[in-house]
């Protein structure tokens, strides 16, 4: 049996809240880069908000913010350094709300970049407000204290499903509420990096992640909520896998 070890890429204790999925995701990214032997080629593009902290957590060159623009920023980086491994680590607010134009167009341009979207259904870093694209109807947040009303506050959307209609490389949604789901999520992340190594197109991996702090829940209950409530609106699995040939 192989001994567990911390990936070399992780160079400082992560400061995420207890029960938050970001720390697991940071670790899955680090493990994937090391196992694929591409850590020395990787550039970490983090969006502002909680994802930001991996800029210091991982021993990589990194770039951060502006909110929602990281698909555009990564497009400029990849055009400049096509042989580097460029990945984005962003939240659901950045990706599906303020940056939906940038995300849509990186899909349409099929830029050979790997993007990881952490969907916890709230604006975590600013204190747990409504995330217009992902907060579930009825969910209480600091800006919808009586619960999200479908008429007054709109409804969440399955953006991964709708974006999957476009012609790009790979789209999948994983979760972190159990060991098997974490293992599947890691496979998706790795697939996203493998696509980039093979110079295929854009890979989009969404990960359902608990935010116990802003959901006001103990971590175990928060994970249960992901499994029982979020997956009904955001189904897990591979949405598209073009299996295409090299894109350049």
């Amino acid at each position: 049996m192989e001994a567990l070890r911390k990936p070399e890429l992780i160079v400082q204790p992560c400061g995420f809240c207890g029960g938050c999925g970001h720390g697991i995701i940071q670790r899955l990214i680090a493990e994937s880069l090391e196992e694929l032997n591409i850590a020395d080629k990787a550039i970490n593009c983090v969006d502002i908000a909680c994802c930001f902290w991996t800029i210091d957590g991982l021993n990589l060159d990194g770039i951060a913010g502006p909110h929602g623009r990281m698909p555009a920023v990564a497009t400029g980086i990849k055009a400049t350094r096509p042989d580097d491994i460029v990945y984005i680590h962003a939240g659901d607010g950045a990706s599906y709300t303020i940056g939906i134009a940038e995300l849509t167009h990186i899909c349409l341009r099929d830029v050979p970049v790997t993007m990881i979207v952490v969907n916890n259904g709230v604006f975590g870093m600013t204190g747990g407000q409504l995330s217009p694209g992902t907060t579930l109807v009825g969910q209480k947040t600091t800006s919808t204290p009586r619960g999200r009303d479908k008429i007054a506050n709109g409804q969440p959307g399955d953006f991964l499903a709708s974006l999957s209609h476009h012609d790009f490389e790979f789209a999948a949604r994983g979760a972190l509420y159990s060991v098997p789901e974490i293992a599947k999520t890691k496979k998706y992340i790795k697939k996203g990096f493998e696509n980039q190594i093979a110079k295929k197109g854009f890979s989009l991996i969404e990960i359902l992640s608990a935010c116990p702090t802003n959901w006001n829940m103990p971590p175990v209950d928060a994970n249960k909520r992901v499994e029982e409530e979020m997956t009904k609106v955001f189904p897990l699995g591979i949405f598209k896998d073009r299996g295409g040939k090299s894109n350049g």
Binding site: I38, I55, A64, R69, V73, T80
Partner: protein, 359 residues
């Protein structure tokens, strides 16, 4: 290899950028500067670079930020309300000292305004539209040749200070056609600087392109910003003075207005009226030193500008330490006319005009 061409100011900017080694351009169309985008679309690929028509101005400057942080010479361009949308990116570029070249070919008006030439985006350009303590190095061409020359030198200047350089033209300068000498083409090495972000071995020192104060400490960062801005202000003032030694009234103008102002000075001199002109080539830093060359007994200055309020007025008052009256000749949406400007100058010298109060 120098070459001659008969092209528009907008085209000269695009061609000079390519010749300076710019290998990434992203932009969003807006009149009166869309020729820059179109020229890049036609010629960037053959130069081995990347052209992207972005989904917005915001996305375009974000792409430029990424490309520039990765070491590329990168450029975007816009005008009026499109340039408004660039402010987020300009502030971010400034937050981590990433150099890039941005172009604003000013159009007239507030909001949507109009699609023709204007100069009322001056304050936005020189005082900053984004958050935080930053300044852009603002270069103001008034001819097609200067469009080429200033853009060609802009990348070196941006990298020298690790600061964004803004080419601040106007719709008239962008649209007019002239003969231009084009500079030789150079290639830029994306690994020229140690601050770029790229894939690196584990042992190498890593770069983080984000608020640098978090990495160097607030005190060091603050001292750096203060010192950089003051160094640029001291060292980078550029101007053209025309017949200011004995002038009784001196025009201050950039872009298309400075062309009319110069012609007006010549007409006035033929009538024995001593006019002169200070033409800022850098709008930031404002060329305060240019005013030291002006006749100390000058009776006043006159800002000539396509705006309503004379946005440069406060800079002229600042440069002259409020020792002389500053008048304005603002022609709003219209390009100034020399005969009218001469009449205004005569009125000012005759004491018929009230000095402006800077807004």
């Amino acid at each position: 290899m120098a070459e001659q061409a008969f092209i528009k100011g907008n085209e000269a900017i695009a061609e000079a950028a390519i010749r300076a080694g710019c290998r990434f351009y992203a932009g969003y169309p807006i009149t009166p500067q869309s020729e820059i985008l179109e020229y890049m679309g036609a010629h960037m690929a053959e130069a081995g670079g990347t052209f992207i028509q972005g989904e917005s101005e915001v996305a375009s400057i974000s792409m430029v930020w990424g490309a520039a942080a990765a070491g590329n010479r990168a450029m975007t361009s816009s005008s009026g309300p499109g340039f408004d949308l660039k402010q987020e990116g300009l502030s971010y570029l400034s937050s981590c000292d990433v150099p890039a070249v941005v172009v604003s070919m000013m159009r007239y008006g507030i909001g949507g305004g109009d699609i023709t030439a204007g100069q009322d985006s001056y304050l936005q350009a020189v005082k900053g539209g984004g958050n935080g303590d930053y300044r852009l190095l603002v270069l103001c061409p008034n001819s097609v040749q200067e469009c080429a020359d200033l853009t060609y030198g802009a990348f070196d200047l941006a990298e020298k200070y690790r600061n964004v350089v803004l080419i601040l033209g106007d719709g008239a300068v962008g649209q007019m056609m002239q003969n231009v000498n084009l500079p030789p083409r150079v290639e830029h090495d994306i690994n020229s600087y140690d601050w770029v972000i790229k894939g690196k071995p584990a042992c190498a020192k890593k770069n983080k392109a984000t608020n640098l104060n978090w990495y160097v400490g607030d005190k060091a960062w603050s001292e750096h910003v203060y010192s950089k801005l003051h160094t640029m202000q001291e060292n980078e003032q550029r101007w053209e003075n025309f017949m200011v030694d004995d002038a009784e009234l001196v025009f201050v103008a950039i872009g298309v207005s400075s062309r009319v102002a110069k012609q007006t000075v010549k007409m006035a001199r033929a009538q024995g009226i001593k006019l002169g002109m200070v033409r800022p080539i850098t709008a930031w830093p404002f060329p305060r030193k240019a005013f030291e060359e002006v006749n100390p007994d000058v009776k006043g200055y006159m800002v000539v500008e396509m705006s309503i309020i004379g946005q440069m007025t406060e800079d002229v008052y600042g440069a002259t330490k409020y020792t002389k009256p500053v008048y304005k000749h603002c022609t709003h949406i219209d390009i100034p006319i020399a005969e009218n400007l001469l009449e205004a100058a005569k009125d000012a010298l005759a004491g018929k005009l009230k000095p402006e109060v800077a807004l």
